[in-house]
Symmetry: C2
Subunit: 344 residues, 2 copies
């Protein structure tokens, strides 16, 4: 099967190679009739443009690199997150006719910034999607920016007014969850805060406060406990909350792991979920559907976020201008079995 080149197509169609190039790249200024001739020739010869040649001549690699924290560095099963991010990025790449290169790397590794820079200088991708938590590491962000490669950050903590990022509406959707719990008749809705260093979970707490206010409920320190995102800390926080004089009838945890901890403690204390206690989490990790009762939570639209990130990159390439506002992909409530109405 001798591969056809652009010359073969040009000959067969009776046009110049440049015209073939125009057809292939959907450039304007080609007569409809000419276009058809060329397309027929392409089909007939099963012609596929040579990427390397195209890249070399056009100074574009048609490559997007997705950089994320390497899960194999830890024992935690963050695999689901990564698959979902890859999914979205791949979807966008296919749409825009780019390829996706994945690059897990170790967050804590001191050299990570230098290594990334070297990688980028070699590959010369047309764009980079940098996922959390790496998107929060100034050293890394700076190193990538130094290469001059367009960069979109996913769920960055601080943005400094830079619009080149995509994130979700943690605060708004947490507010919505709180209002939902209130709408079920709950008056004492507790919140378990997450790890203080984690920006997103801070927004969730603010959303919780918003929700209370919008529901006409007063916030109270009695209803707030601190956790660190781990199951264990969720257990401790739940224990603390449930043993107070006037325990909450609903607990909203800043992430699913802590919510799972709450359910575990409730089980131990003989408190029935959801009849005696509603529990809600955040993130919609795989566990949320596996535990019993299935956890009401907020889905993190990771896949849509990376998809949006890649599209920002490819779009700005076409339009030759940077986007001037970030993309916010809204999360949605996943109402499952762990929450129910509370009759006062």
């Amino acid at each position: 099967m001798p591969k056809a080149t652009i010359d073969d197509v040009a000959n067969l169609a009776g046009v110049s190679i440049k015209t073939v190039s125009r057809v292939v790249n959907r450039e304007p200024n080609v007569r409809e009739q000419t276009r058809e001739k060329v397309e027929n020739a392409i089909a007939q010869l099963n012609y596929r443009p040579n990427k390397a040649a195209r890249n070399l001549a056009s100074h574009h690699s048609h490559l997007i690199v997705l950089i994320y924290d390497d899960p194999s560095a830890y024992e935690i099963p963050s695999a689901g997150f990564i698959i979902r991010m890859q999914e979205g990025a791949l979807r966008a790449c296919r749409k825009a006719n780019y390829e996706l290169l994945i690059h897990p790397c170790r967050y804590r590794n001191k050299n990570v910034a230098v290594e990334l820079k070297a990688l980028i200088e070699q590959i010369r991708p047309d764009g980079i999607v940098l996922a959390a938590p790496l998107s929060n590491v100034p050293r890394v962000v700076r190193a990538i920016e130094e290469t001059g490669t367009p960069l979109i950050r996913v769920s960055p903590g601080k943005t400094d007014g830079d619009p080149l990022y995509v994130s979700t509406n943690d605060r708004e959707v947490s507010c919505e969850m709180t209002r939902y719990l209130a709408s079920l008749g709950h008056k004492r809705i507790a919140f378990i805060k997450g790890h203080p260093g984690h920006k997103a979970v801070g927004n969730r707490f603010r959303g919780y406060l918003d929700g209370l206010e919008q529901s006409g409920l007063a916030a109270s320190d009695e209803l707030i406990a601190a956790g660190d995102n781990s199951i264990r800390s969720g257990e401790a926080a739940a224990l603390e909350l449930l043993e107070r004089r006037d325990p909450p009838t609903a607990i909203f945890a800043a992430n699913d792991d802590m919510a799972a901890g709450v359910m575990r403690v409730a089980d131990r204390l003989g408190i029935k979920v959801p009849d005696e206690l509603s529990v809600a989490g955040c993130d919609d990790i795989a566990l949320a559907q596996q535990i019993y009762p299935a956890l009401t939570t907020i889905n993190q639209p990771l896949s849509q976020m990376t998809e949006a990130a890649v599209l920002m990159l490819t779009d700005s390439q076409r339009k030759k201008k940077k986007p001037d506002s970030p993309t916010i992909v809204p999360g949605t409530l996943k109402l499952r079995e762990s929450t129910t109405a509370f009759a006062n």
Copy 2:
């Protein structure tokens, strides 16, 4: 930061660009002294060879494509598998200075073969790693072979004498597990067979029979149950086995999900694992460590398998000859809490 080209390096080092190229590509016949001059110049200018140009001139893409079944097509959390496969492939790619492109695709999709062919013709990777279960679909394998791109299959079912694959020693290691159980004093070791269409689990059954024989135990239909790889089928099989007159003291399931089903049933029946019943699985999925007691199982060296696959590809590229034997990466027993000695 004006990117340096090979000409800049050549000028600075006072040699020809060809010599620079030789140094960069570690080709022979460069004097040590010259090499150093060039390397200094490279370092000084922070020169990185342009991939596109190199690919175009060398007719190599320095790209490996990893093709696997798209997990998002189903609800099952096969994410862990995929991450591990990617891990191994990435490790090998870095060693050999290749890039990895991932390509999930839908197993059941009728067009998958045609689409893959188109993809490959566009990208022109230097090699392809095709993971199970796609590695068992003749239509897909044929389509890829038609492109002439070197292909290594991971865990293929049938091999037809073709050595271009890597797999694990399912049979041997299952035998080992059986012998291990026997060595713990178990005389009645039951086996739950997996889905009949799944080749690997068939080998596991054979390994089980080998193990019984080597341990001087007789195989018996009384000790064999059929499953379909699901948790539910594991439960059914366990129920069947445990309610027989002379129930087994150890159950070895052809995969972890079924083993988890066994544990669940044992719990319901009030049978203590491992004291009254030892349970062993196969695959070492994430669940195996999460359940209580932690499941003794066989680890599937997925990551090493894809690593080996990529290395077969890159090595054969260097040596310009195909490997003449497959790579077998041995699995290993993961002895955890669900198995213990049985005092007769």
